[in-house]
Subunit: 428 residues, 2 copies
């Protein structure tokens, strides 16, 4: 069977898709029983040169060239815009075309609506490439953990941030220098906000939460902290206690009746011995904790032309299989349940807290008094002299809630000569 | 829809399967649309007490109680024998029952035949639990890398060996003490041959090779070396150069036209910075290198009641989906190709070689001469005094083939006062 593909977008991922379809055509046909053929590509800017693949299909800037083409069964949306992509995908689904997209922002914000439209039209809507690039985490969640109760999903799902933190930790670069290096290498954009402030990870974590817990959070439901305030000193101190700092997206079920979910993007301390600690540079990893399976991790390239294109291809071959078996139209993720949002008192973790105090007699006494008042106790303490007659106090605590931490925050804000310099959860 | 399940075997994995089916019944029904109900279990020894689950189904020792029961659509084979399991699975398939098994020895040795019988009868035969316990590697290979060209699969796929090597490296235990600890913890059997000699890993690697490369090797096609000869000294020396020793199963495509495959189980040196190096104790991991996707790794528990049962459950829910969609009978792995077996000259890697020489003038000269004659050159050399007036020479080489190593082996065997103490490939 011949399956026609229409491509919206011929940027990095689009070119990768064309390359794999051309170079591995024989293998794909052998394994799916179908020939997947790019029939048409639609792009914004026709004057921009398209290189890196054999152009054996027409390229225009008219969406209808794909949408009205009856020989095209699958639309691949890799434009990377929001409103336009929404429009294209919706029109494609309503034209009974299957859709494969890598658009995490769109799926995270309006995925539920598009999934419903796909279902009404009896077509597939797949988006493996939207989360963690080449790592096949979504299909694994939907096919291999169906019978298990997942308690936590934790991922290093933003390659830019992980590259920056790795460079800071391994090569003693400052945040600014590491960011510059990431930009030079093409791992960070000139405006890096979306990556370093945690929004990109947040979108991916929303999609992971759909699949792992059947919930449909919006961005406002998440607690989001980026890496822009991570300092060399924090990294060095974490290192001295056996931890590395990683930007994690963590969604976990909490509450005595497992009734709530905490969804958070933040830099956290990961023990050296934990598999997540060894995920370096632009790589991604997603850790899944299931009641039955225990701890499973999927690791791989988080971005890049070919890895991301490979995830698009895995979606395409799955559509091809559905077409061959006449079984399209079943949602990528069929898990739905209602969970409350976790309260601050339910978000519990060990903490790594850095306080700067005037280096005077009694300063330590007054800090420890504040922690005692918040009912927080320490496992480790380290005090070192800092600049301008201050001392840097690093404290690792026993498990404490966000509510307790808010007490500490308020107390410190009102205290003279004491300043909360940094605060991280310790991942375990 | 109600789907009846018949269980052959109620050992560790069987009990885990019953537990998950009972405890997560509601979730499974919600997500698959079917109720999965154990209708009957058949075991060898009826006098042995079965605990750890609610017995709400009959248990007998008559295979026909399952095979002739029209209410049973799926047979789960978790007996762990070879000939009997073959017989049961064959009869089940011929009775048009879908089969889920965790039996790696059987699938590795007679899988092709059983797959053909399943296809003739239009039923499913799944065996995710046969490789790497809770790690969903087979389904990932068959659904997420269909369009990619896989160049290598490398796994830590024997939990017992990995536990022993981890204990030797981390806690300075001798091989004998680490093995004893593994036996006490239930990670090794009283006769550990199958695990420590590499046969268990070999069976799993055969199945991985089926899925990743479409080849059907037999045990004799593999080069198999276990861990019984790994010494404390080897581990310490590897450590000094930045490596950890792991028992790896490695299948990779070689040759200028990618025409051959090398399939090998052996202890190898893995760099500290590689993700495989952080797979500790009884955990498993499988690394997949694809032309498009790059390097992806799946990590998780390699054995145990609940992780392995979760893999059986993922097979069961996939059969349930096939039944709901009316699409059973498609092979778990549809990839088939012919590759030659790699020649020794095609099996190329950097080497870690340990030679014991009489500590006399000229000894080093004569050793290095032998390596020069085999056209092997060094990247690192370290000589330390050893017992009885000998010296221990550790050499790390540039890439060299098994053929070159055989030359060295022969030369050393004929040399006085020089002994090849150990030889490992360096994984990269």
């Amino acid at each position: 069977m011949d399956i026609g593909i229409g491509l919206f977008g011929l940027g990095t991922v689009g070119r990768g898709v064309v390359k794999i379809l051309q170079e591995n055509a024989e293998q794909i046909t052998k394994r799916t029983g179908s020939r997947l053929i790019v029939k048409h590509a639609v792009i914004h800017n026709l004057t921009k040169e398209r290189t890196g693949f054999v152009k054996n299909f027409p390229i225009t800037n008219q969406a209808t060239d794909i949408l009205d083409n009856p020989d095209i069964q699958i639309v691949v949306e890799v434009m990377g815009t929001l409103d336009q992509a929404y429009d294209i995908i919706k029109r494609s689904l309503n034209a009974k075309k299957h859709v494969v997209t890598a658009n995490k922002d769109l799926i995270a914000s309006r995925g539920q609506e598009l999934v419903a439209i796909a279902e009404i039209n009896g077509v597939d809507l797949f988006f493996e490439a939207a989360v963690a690039g080449g790592v096949p985490i979504l299909r694994t969640l939907s096919t291999s953990f169906t019978a298990d109760e997942i308690s936590r999903v934790a991922g290093i799902i933003n390659g830019t941030s992980n590259f920056i933190l790795t460079q800071m930790a391994s090569n003693n670069l400052s945040y600014a220098d590491a960011l510059k290096l990431a930009q030079n290498k093409g791992f960070a954009e000139s405006d890096p906000t979306n990556d370093v402030e945690g929004f990109d990870a947040a979108y991916k974590l929303i999609i992971l939460s759909n699949f792992a817990f059947g919930v449909q959070p919006v961005l406002g439901d998440l607690s989001i902290t980026g890496i822009a305030n991570v300092t060399d000193a924090d990294i060095a101190d974490a290192n001295a206690f056996g931890y590395v700092i990683k930007l994690l997206g963590v969604a976990q079920v909490v509450g005595s009746a497992k009734e709530a979910i905490s969804i958070e993007v933040s830099p956290q301390l990961v023990p050296f011995t934990h598999p997540l600690a060894t995920v370096h540079n632009e790589n991604n990893a997603v850790l899944v904790n299931g009641e039955s399976v225990g701890e499973v991790m999927l690791y791989g390239p988080g971005a890049g032309e070919m890895p991301t294109a490979n995830s698009v291809l895995s979606d395409l071959t799955n559509v091809a299989t559905d077409l061959a078996l006449n079984t399209p139209g079943h949602p990528f993720n069929s898990f739905n349940q209602d969970l409350d949002l976790a309260k601050p008192s339910q978000r519990i973790a060990r903490r790594f807290i850095v306080v700067e105090v005037d280096d005077t007699p009694g300063a330590m006494y007054s800090v420890t008094g504040m922690f005692a008042a918040a009912k927080m106790s320490f496992t480790d303490l380290k005090q070192t002299p800092a600049a301008n007659g201050t001392a840097r106090l690093v404290a690792l605590t026993h498990p404490a809630s966000d509510a307790q931490l808010n007490v500490i925050r308020t107390t410190l804000r009102n205290a003279d000569g004491i300043n909360l310099a940094a605060e991280y959860k310790i991942f375990s």
